[in-house]
């Protein structure tokens, strides 16, 4: 794992001539294709990944190009898919599993927690599981019940897994290549509402595999730090733009890219500079990803903090029906509200009589 410095580029910035706009879905498809071409051990498994090319078309054309032994339509059973992938990895293959939607990965939970995450540890390294579990996640696409879950908190709480989620087209390619090349199991969360987001990318000179554990800083700023990932990155960038326009705040935006391993350096470096932070994600707040992020940022930056780290997240409710999801998802206004509550002048916590620092 190369310890490259955190990139400080804005996401999907204008790229050199010769590149053309591609969607995140295309970038992921290309990453799979290139991985299949580069390593005969790579095998794709899942529901509808073959002939159909996946319900989101991420595996489009791969069965045709590499044959259905490399890109295989499985029976409809997620525990079976992941469990057989474990066996294939034990034999030295490098399976890439697709779960059709986030909530449909739950049947495979036991295999993931009791085996995938622990096999290397259990066998003192004798049976590593180089296995990638691709999971489209998050809402915002008008999906009906069970089609918009954000379950990253479950995976983050499971030692032995890497938890990765791209927010940009280029990162989608680079992180997926890295995930497939990883000798550890990776839960690769694809923000489904960004599948159709576009950015220029030269697919003939695709970007290098990205190291894990390195957050990106797509926007620098001095007033406060927005810490986010995946589907909430564009919302945070929009909020940062609005904050400058309306309040003159310069918000720094951090795209974590990998939730595990967590890039403490980049995050703490930013928060120590800005003194204020808001964590933004779609998943529910209580015991959600933001809890860990807020807790560790507070541990690492306590004396630099002018205000508690706040969280803007989905409500603590089951994901709502599509007609109401707009009210549930963190949006620009809520982010700006949270930033405004970062104690720019006075005490604010309802019910507490805030007192000045000692």
């Amino acid at each position: 794992m190369t310890a490259a410095p955190a990139s400080r580029t804005s996401p999907d910035a204008p790229a050199p001539a010769g590149t053309r706009p591609v969607t995140m879905a295309q970038a992921l498809n290309r990453a799979l294709r290139d991985a299949l071409a580069a390593d005969p051990a790579v095998h794709i498994l899942g529901e509808d990944v073959g002939t159909l090319g996946g319900v989101f078309r991420i595996t489009d054309g791969l069965a045709a190009e590499f044959g259905d032994r490399r890109c295989t339509d499985t029976p409809l059973a997620e525990a079976g898919i992941l469990g057989t992938a474990v066996g294939m990895a034990m034999y030295g293959l490098r399976p890439v599993v697709e779960m059709q939607f986030d909530a449909f990965a739950y049947p495979a939970f036991e295999q993931l927690v009791s085996h995938v995450s622990r096999m290397r540890n259990r066998t003192s390294g004798a049976l590593p599981l180089p296995l990638t579990v691709r999971i489209p996640y998050g809402g915002g696409i008008g999906g009906v019940e069970h089609h918009s879950d954000s379950s990253e908190a479950y995976y983050m709480a499971t030692p032995g897994l890497h938890v990765v989620t791209p927010a940009t087209v280029a990162d989608a390619y680079g992180l997926l290549r890295r995930a497939i090349a990883s000798d550890d199991p990776v839960v690769f969360l694809e923000p489904k509402r960004l599948y159709w987001s576009k950015a220029p990318l030269d697919l003939d000179q695709p970007p290098a595999a990205l190291p894990f554990g390195r957050a990106a800083v797509p926007r620098t700023g001095t007033s406060a730090t927005l810490i986010t990932y995946g589907p909430s990155l564009p919302v945070c960038l929009e909020a940062a733009e609005a904050a400058r326009a309306t309040e003159g705040w310069e918000l720094e935006v951090i795209d974590l890219r990998t939730l595990v391993p967590f890039d403490d350096d980049t995050v703490c470096d930013s928060v120590r500079r800005t003194g204020r932070a808001v964590v933004v994600h779609e998943a529910t707040g209580f015991a959600g990803p933001g809890a860990e992020i807020a807790a560790r940022v507070t541990e690492g930056c306590f004396h630099y903090l002018q205000a508690p780290v706040l969280r803007v997240t989905g409500f603590d409710i089951p994901y709502p029906p599509p007609m109401l999801e707009g009210h549930h998802l963190p949006g620009v206004d809520r982010i700006l509200d949270a930033v405004a509550r970062l104690q720019w002048e006075a005490d604010w916590i309802p019910g507490t009589e805030g007192r000045p620092h000692a």
Binding site: G50, P107, F315
Partner: protein, 388 residues
């Protein structure tokens, strides 16, 4: 001298050995069971005409729902065109106290059971997760995670039996769903408990794009029954009277303590998986055409014609009822549902926690501010801003 003392020659089978059920009666018929075209008579007079009327309505319902997706009135619709015989017969075979456990594809069965179609479509419209009162018609919510409704049906049937009620449950699942662990666990519990539950597999040959041959290598899905110790039946799922009869028998048997059954109905979905699916990617028009020739509506129509029962009157009556049903649905679905944002916090718990109350009041404040901004002269970006 030896490790074990010698006690003589024992050619006996292991102690206590006996097969606990005779497998033969549990195996399905070798050919799918049919009534249409066999010279059989309806179990009750008028039943087939009633099925015909309902099939016509069912087909019209599917067409109307599909049209509503094009008009943006449904988020998604998994059509059951081609499977109307299964869905209709399922609803009709149930007694009022019985329970139906449908999947996402079974709104027609739900409607045929008496649920208001607008309510039945709530999930797919996107205004609520489930639009009807499950107790009123004894219909569980439409279930999306495949096969997970099957253990619910078993548990409910078991509970009814524990309570001494004569109630059966009918659980619907697709061919793809039979591969899930929950299918296995549900059937096993049902058989061990002798729960009054009937499992109807609508084998339409595909799980989205995946054909049956990639789903199972079994002689038939109905053959799975013997592995649980329950009877398996194989029926032509496009022969509405046959499905109705097989289900009625199985439900009667279950209700009277005879235990569960697994029924595989061979059918075909004539439409794509949902309106969002492109079926041309994975199946030939020829196959679809062959199945159009075996359309459940056509099979029943031909039989009624042969029997001289396909009167102009019946046809007109069926069509009129279907058209007026469709018109009513269309009209009501064109009204904008306005689900209340505040309902987000209802029914998460019996009583909201302090935490949810706080979140609720924050949302209320947001909505109030938005409303104010919207009503202010020239004001407001509206609620759209947060709806990223």
């Amino acid at each position: 001298m030896t490790v074990l003392e010698h006690t003589g020659y024992r050619p006996a089978p292991p102690p206590g050995w006996q097969p606990r059920t005779d497998p033969a009666p549990l195996l399905p018929e070798p050919e799918p069971y049919r009534l249409l075209g066999t010279g059989a008579e309806p179990a009750t007079p008028g039943l087939w005409r009633e099925l015909y009327r309902r099939l016509v309505l069912g087909r019209r319902y599917n067409e109307q729902a599909t049209a509503l997706t094009r008009q943006g009135r449904l988020a998604v619709y998994p059509s059951s065109a081609g499977q109307e015989a299964c869905q209709t017969a399922a609803a009709l075979a149930l007694r009022p106290d019985d329970w139906l456990f449908p999947s996402y594809r079974d709104t027609l069965a739900v409607v045929a059971r008496g649920v208001d179609p607008v309510q039945a479509l709530s999930l797919l419209r996107g205004d609520r997760h489930s639009g009807y009162d499950p107790h009123r018609h004894r219909v569980a919510p439409l279930c999306t995670p495949l096969a997970t409704q099957l253990p619910h049906a078993v548990g409910l049937a078991h509970a009814a039996r524990l309570c001494g009620d004569e109630v059966a449950a009918l659980a619907l699942v697709g061919d793809g769903g039979t591969s899930e662990g929950d299918f296995h666990e549900a059937l096993n519990f049902a058989a061990v408990w002798q729960a009054p539950v009937v499992f109807l597999v609508q084998n339409n040959g595909f799980a989205i794009s995946v054909p049956l041959a990639k789903q199972t290598a079994a002689p038939s899905i109905a053959h799975k029954a013997v592995g649980y110790g329950m009877p398996g039946r194989l029926v032509d799922g496009n022969d509405a009277p046959a499905v109705h009869q097989v289900l009625t028998e199985a439900l009667d048997r279950a209700r009277s303590g005879g235990g569960p059954a697994l029924i595989e109905a061979l059918t075909y979905r004539l439409d794509a998986h949902t309106n969002a699916d492109d079926a041309s990617r994975y199946r030939d028009e020829e196959e679809v055409a062959a199945w159009r020739g075996h359309d459940p509506l056509r099979l029943l129509e031909e039989e009624l014609r042969r029997r001289g029962e396909l009167t102009d009157e019946l046809v007109a009556e069926a069509r009129t009822a279907a058209e007026s049903f469709a018109a009513g649905l269309r009209e009501r679905m064109h009204a904008d549902p306005r689900p209340d944002a505040a309902s987000l916090f209802d029914h998460v718990y019996a009583e909201p926690t302090a935490q949810l109350r706080a979140q609720h009041s924050r949302l209320r404040a947001e909505l109030a501010a938005e409303a104010e901004a919207a009503s202010a002269p020239g004001g407001g970006t509206g609620p759209g801003r947060d709806a990223a």
